[in-house]
Subunit: 461 residues, 2 copies
């Protein structure tokens, strides 16, 4: 972990002018994400404008054996963008153009710095939308790199299903194009899926082709309160098992609803709640809503409250997306140790019940919220950053939650990724498979310069 | 290309008894697939019964530097199972058990030798089905290895979307488990998707966990004839662009319909035809059918003929699945040079029109059939195996069809895979990406013993 070689600083300054910075405030911003990990500052930040410039930066860094960390908007939750080995933070935010919208093929080609909301704004009037919606207005490059998903994944899939093609700059400066715009292909190894979820450790994503979806003809959304989390989860399980093509089905526990009311000025009943959204033709939406209402009622759900106007729905989902900040707001000055697990749907009730018992036992404050249609839920464990004992207890609680999820045939992360925080769990989950990941990393990045220290255990560079 | 070392023969005979054979008839069967490539016999065939036995075989072969070629049912269409470098054919057909059906999670764990029809038979009464349906009753291991799809992919996805987890024996004898039963995961590199479509070149698949889907409450199927292929294709494009969740939408050109009538004793009108199937609730199926009928009528489609009884639908789809054999039957004794391309849906009309002009110019007989909802179509170019000039013309025609698809932003294979037949096109399509594939192959199979010569260009072993 050393500062940059003087020659490299000169070369970057000469090439990028004001688009290269070693100012501390800039480096601090880029050495920080939404996780609870301590900041780890890069030695410099560069803002490329083109794939050719990314190639230049990769080649310069390689010549000097300096690590490179791609940076989107800094909303990662497992320390992905922290420069734990120093090096250059590659801020992609100025490569944020929509390169093409192929409305007739329902795809778009974008630069990696474009955010998901900016893409949807660009799609306005096309009759299409891009459904993947992590809480933050993340960049599409970052979402690709972490295999992100969100509330719509139960219907529309995750970044795994919605990235059709990529352009990637490899560690040796080669530029490859993976996948293509055809909806399916059996042409060779699936390099697209190898880079989706690779967290910047295999190369720098410089272009993303994503699937778009037709805006549904009709949309309806509703909330429904339940006497306890188990009844809500049972409703979710039955909905999925019946094959109802629900677009969103989200769980908020009572504490989360309370935090949302405080933060978003809503007046939701402070009980475990499901938030549903149905997409389709008017008749299909009506039919789905009918089926789910019956299931909810059988499980003790209170009457549905419908958000019929688009602006009410927008407010409802914005409140849902803000649960992270709403949760933090419960204890001013706190930070959160988050965890994000996903289990087969049949194990969901057990996973959440056990998690809630663990939270109670821990004495900590920890809202639970989840994309439960996929079996995925998050726990936001609030901690005082100046209280090491509390942080240790939060981390222990997070471990117990993940260990239970693994024991229930689940995964240690449904959508946040491995980053720094879950490398040990990756080994617990995939065993010898991690050795294979190490081999792939070594094959594509033999000098270990691409976001070193993330995902796979590596020696320092 | 040499026969097996005597020690290896002794070891395999001792270990496997009658489950090891070097008989010529057996080797001939295993050195042959449904492609037009000349037979290439393995030097021996082994039928393992367990993952541990696969490990033993892999270790024995590696010790003697002998190649290994996994074999399912031999229905590959690009020479995947041909032992072009000699070696052992690993016949997985006796590893054909259903290991678990998790109805509540809608997944099943199976051995790779199980065929898709056998899986669906095992699911009888569960309310679930496995939708992926290449023409042949292929093995699930083989379907995983070629990233297969079929008529249902437009609604349910391909093997890429429907394989959740794998067990794989690597070239060095290690056994890894990839993925998991959770519906989504961001835990590290997507090894599952790396092995899906790897055609036996990265390891031997010994267990597959697949997604299942709820049997639709209502199903309806119909055929509709069109004045020309362009009108049929236009109907498909509009259906997809409207977001109608059609389950199947298949094109047969007039020659294909003629071949089906001859082979399957049907009496379909011998004009370009679309075959539709709709899945959903009764109301949703009715609504989908209504929408598509209107689109078809606007494009000159003749009235829909409905296959309302389940046995009529089964007969209709069996006839569709038999088009390969129906086509061959047009010229007794012929073989087929097949090609399989996939283009973005907006380019489909142009791709098929150009292809039909090429066929007319070639003077060859070549039915066209396709999973057009995905932009995927096949051409079955009939050739007399004793007429080298005709074979050369067929190959030239196949090349033109693929070159056009690539020029239209498509892929050289939608679902058949690369095998031997499309290695040059893989380079044309993916360029430098193929060098990355070579690196991955070298990282996982440094001795090049796993199905050598397929997908990636390799030196002889």
């Amino acid at each position: 972990m050393s500062a940059l070689p003087e020659t490299l600083v000169q070369q970057l300054a000469q090439h990028f002018g004001k688009r290269f910075s070693t100012a501390e405030a800039i480096r601090t911003h880029h050495g920080h994400d939404e996780s609870h990990f301590p900041d780890a500052l890069p030695d410099g930040v560069v803002w490329p404008h083109s794939t050719a410039e990314v190639v230049d930066i990769v080649n310069l860094c390689r010549a000097h054996r300096v690590p490179l960390i791609p940076f989107g908007v800094g909303s990662s939750l497992e320390g992905h963008v922290l420069a734990t080995h120093g090096g250059i933070s590659l801020d992609m935010s100025e490569m944020n153009q929509v390169l093409a919208i192929h409305a007739e093929d329902m795809d778009a080609v974008v630069q990696p710095g474009l955010t998901r909301k900016a893409l949807n704004a660009a799609l306005h009037g096309s009759g299409l939308f891009f459904p993947i919606d992590p809480g933050a207005d993340a960049s599409l490059g970052g979402m690709t790199a972490t295999r992100a998903s969100g509330t719509n994944a139960v219907r529309y899939g995750t970044m795994r299903e919605n990235v059709l093609a990529l352009e990637v700059v490899l560690a040796d400066g080669r530029v490859i194009r993976t996948g293509g715009r055809a909806r399916k292909s059996s042409a060779g190894y699936d390099l697209t899926r190898l880079f989706v979820g690779s967290e910047g450790t295999l190369g720098v994503i410089t272009e993303v082709t994503v699937r778009l979806h037709p805006l549904p003809e009709a949309v309806s959304a509703a909330t429904c309160s339940f006497p306890d989390v188990a009844s809500a989860v049972q409703t979710v399980i039955q909905t999925i098992q019946l094959g109802v093509p629900v677009a969103r089905i989200e769980l908020l526990d009572a504490l989360t609803v309370h935090s949302v009311n405080r933060f978003s000025k809503t007046s939701l009943r402070e009980a475990p709640m499901l938030v549903f959204e149905f997409h389709g033709s008017p008749a299909s939406v009506e039919e789905q809503a009918q089926t789910v209402q019956e299931l909810a009622r059988d499980n003790g759900g209170e009457d549905f409250e419908w958000a019929t106007r688009p602006e009410d729905r927008t407010r409802l989902w914005q409140a849902r997306h803000d649960v992270y900040f709403a949760g933090l707001n419960l204890q001013p000055g706190c930070r959160a140790v988050t965890t994000d697990v996903c289990v087969p749907i049949s194990r969901l009730a057990e996973a959440i019940a056990g998690t809630q018992q663990d939270i109670a036992d821990s004495g900590l404050t920890a809202p639970v919220v989840g994309h439960v249609g996929d079996g995925n839920f998050h726990v936001l464990i609030l901690t005082d950053p100046d209280n090491p004992d509390q942080i240790a207890r939060a981390e222990a609680l997070g471990r117990r939650i993940v260990e239970r999820a693994l024991a229930l045939d689940g995964t240690c992360t449904g959508e946040h990724g491995i980053g720094l925080g879950k490398r040990d769990f990756l080994v617990a989950e995939h065993g010898e498979g991690v050795a294979v990941m190490v081999s792939l990393k070594a094959a594509l990045d033999p000098l270990n310069l691409m976001n070193p220290g993330k995902i796979v255990p590596t020696t320092d560079c």
